[in-house]
Symmetry: C2
Subunit: 389 residues, 2 copies
């Protein structure tokens, strides 16, 4: 068993409505960039993992593991598609990590991709509802904006969270996205813009919702021995954890909390031997702005119920005590669902390498990524760092 696993290369496409790109062109671009960044030739790669939520419903294509291996010039390499709705990307990273930990391989690539804009957006909403419980949520008319609206309403009722506080998440996400050349929305929005945007599912408005996005991202992983050999600045995966919850929101004890995240975070902190206050920055799953507030509570960056106030006070902004979603998050950077978990890791690596440009966090030593499937049925967390002195 290799003692540690490192990320030695990253790649990411532009995120957006990419009419000239296809599923296969996107993931091939991201993968090639990651391999080039790792300074491998490509033929060292021993396995490929690809996270994608619903290529079947978005374009009729399953078996994307073989498709990606084929089109990336990796024919023959063992290839696995991993899916857990919007957390497919981080889960692909996790399986790639475990495959190296198994001792059976030294170099593995993990990618995430979704091509969402080739079908009408109402069909995309139906496809995305595949992340919920078909029999007990979808058939009754629930959609994801509706489910997160229920969570927001309950959070507001229990903790006094305000719509202004929830909206502040979006304002901050767009501020960061404006600094990210790969982001779908590279512009700022004001609190008034968010508060006055079109209602989607009360209390959530358009600018509380992440968009439909095309995009892909990839990372190359290596065993400790190989990473030390070929890489000057390996970024270590200090912990990889996953937890699940009921797939249906109504089956949970609390709808204003994400317990899968709390459990996964606890495991990750124990494994990495750190506490929440040791984390310097985090990429969290803000599919809806209320989700970021619940995320920072579950991750222990603030107390339960205080996520709104914490955000309003600027603690999560680029210059705050714990910058959240420096990439722009799902709201600002975009949310090609299967790609998101890998894109979070790409941003964390950029921060830890000190290569995040205008959105660089000062003294970024330890980063955390938090990727959620559905309304919280799955949560996958990774804790990353460079070599710590």
């Amino acid at each position: 068993m290799t003692s540690r696993v490192a990320i030695i290369g990253t790649g990411i496409t532009e995120f957006g409505e990419l009419w000239d790109e296809s599923f296969r062109s996107l993931i091939t671009k991201a993968g090639t960039e990651a391999i080039n960044d790792s300074r491998l030739e490509g033929d060292e790669i021993e396995a490929l993992y690809v996270g994608s939520m619903s290529p079947g419903l978005f374009s009729g294509q399953e078996h994307v593991s073989s498709l990606v291996a084929d089109h990336a010039g990796l024919k023959g390499v063992p290839a696995t598609r991993v899916e857990a709705a919007c957390s497919s990307g981080a889960l692909a990273l996790r399986e790639a990590y475990l495959s190296i930990k198994s001792g059976e391989m030294d170099y593995v690539i993990a990618g995430g991709v979704e091509k969402m804009t080739d079908i009408p957006s109402n069909s995309a909403t139906v496809a995305l509802m595949g992340a919920g419980d078909q029999e007990w949520e979808a058939f009754k008319g629930a959609t994801f904006p509706g489910l997160y609206a229920l969570m927001a309403t309950r959070h507001m009722y229990e903790y006094g969270t305000t719509l202004e506080q929830i909206s502040q998440v979006s304002v901050k996400s767009h501020e960061n996205a404006a600094l990210n050349p790969k982001a779908q929305f590279r512009f700022k929005v004001s609190l008034e813009d968010v508060m006055n945007s079109t209602p989607v599912a009360d209390p959530l408005r358009l600018l509380h919702c992440s968009p439909i996005t095309d995009g892909a991202a990839a990372v190359v992983l290596a065993s400790e021995e190989k990473a030390r050999e070929i890489c000057d600045n390996p970024i270590w995966i200090n912990a990889s954890s996953c937890s699940t919850d009921t797939i249906a929101l109504h089956d949970r004890e609390y709808v204003s909390r994400t317990d899968a995240a709390t459990r996964a975070a606890g495991k990750a902190y124990r494994r990495a031997g750190i506490k929440p206050q040791d984390v310097d920055f985090a990429e969290v799953h803000d599919c809806f702005s209320i989700a970021e507030i619940m995320a920072i509570e579950s991750l222990g960056f603030c107390k339960l119920g205080e996520g709104g106030r914490f955000t309003e006070e600027g603690e999560t902004s680029l210059s705050g005590s714990i910058p959240i979603n420096t990439s722009g998050g799902l709201k600002g950077k975009g949310h090609p669902v299967g790609a998101t978990g890998i894109a979070q890791a790409v941003e964390a690596v950029a921060q830890l390498r000190g290569e995040a440009g205008k959105r660089q966090v000062e003294k970024a030593k330890i980063g955390l990524t938090h990727n959620v499937g559905g309304s919280g049925g799955t949560c996958v967390i990774h804790i990353l760092s460079g070599d710590l002195k």
Copy 2:
């Protein structure tokens, strides 16, 4: 790193058109049976893998990892869906195996499931075509019966394989299925029945094609240390291998061969330290009867081009030199695509434990499972045995 990984429990549902069952009821039944068979309580399980090809297109449901953990009473357990078309099941087994090899867990459950009969069978054919190349095969009108018909035609042209020989695969599969109480088709068919059945895609006829099936299967895996502690008859995974090929048939050098299988078999034999002639029986992927002939050639049980004759001479029958598909295979037992790879392992374990009843292979010491995605874009192979004296 644990040195070896064992299967310590198995479960399988009846295969067939199961109108009273749902996706979640099927996988929960198989999983519960596997946990009971392993003599665990269930709460020892540290991770769950589920292979399913297209729950999205068959029932709108993605995120089945969380769904299965939830409905199986394993809420909180890390859960991963794995997909590589019809080889999703074996790939779930492989990822479960790697997760134990990583040293991060001791008990893992791997299941496979597909609920295919809730949509019209022409829609099922469209969903299954997700295993092929959407842009270059499906959009041009290809279906899987058509692709395998091309392979059959070429095999007949190159090697003189006859339709009688291909038909003999189906005759033998049904003979075995008649002895399997879980099989979809528990009856024999004659050579004349097969030869005279309805044409589907020339030269393939109805009785050369595996059916649309509902079903699920599951296995519980344990690290060597734990398996020795709690299990009298652990079945060891001596090798787990995977290889890929171009997803589209027309991109391959040879359409009458399955090179992913040849590569995966080579790796598996090397890892297990055995030769093809050491294998006592095998479960292979006969989605169409021609596929079994190509499989036994790729696996080295006979020479390239001799699979037809080898089958005709009875070498692959229950009393032959290398019994193939004692379960009845995909043709006779049924083919709930995501479940098939796990069901193959369940049959292999039954044979190796000496619990296969009327279809027991004499002196079954080493078994092989061969699971294929699409027209050969993925192949996953496992080599299993009990403790060898």
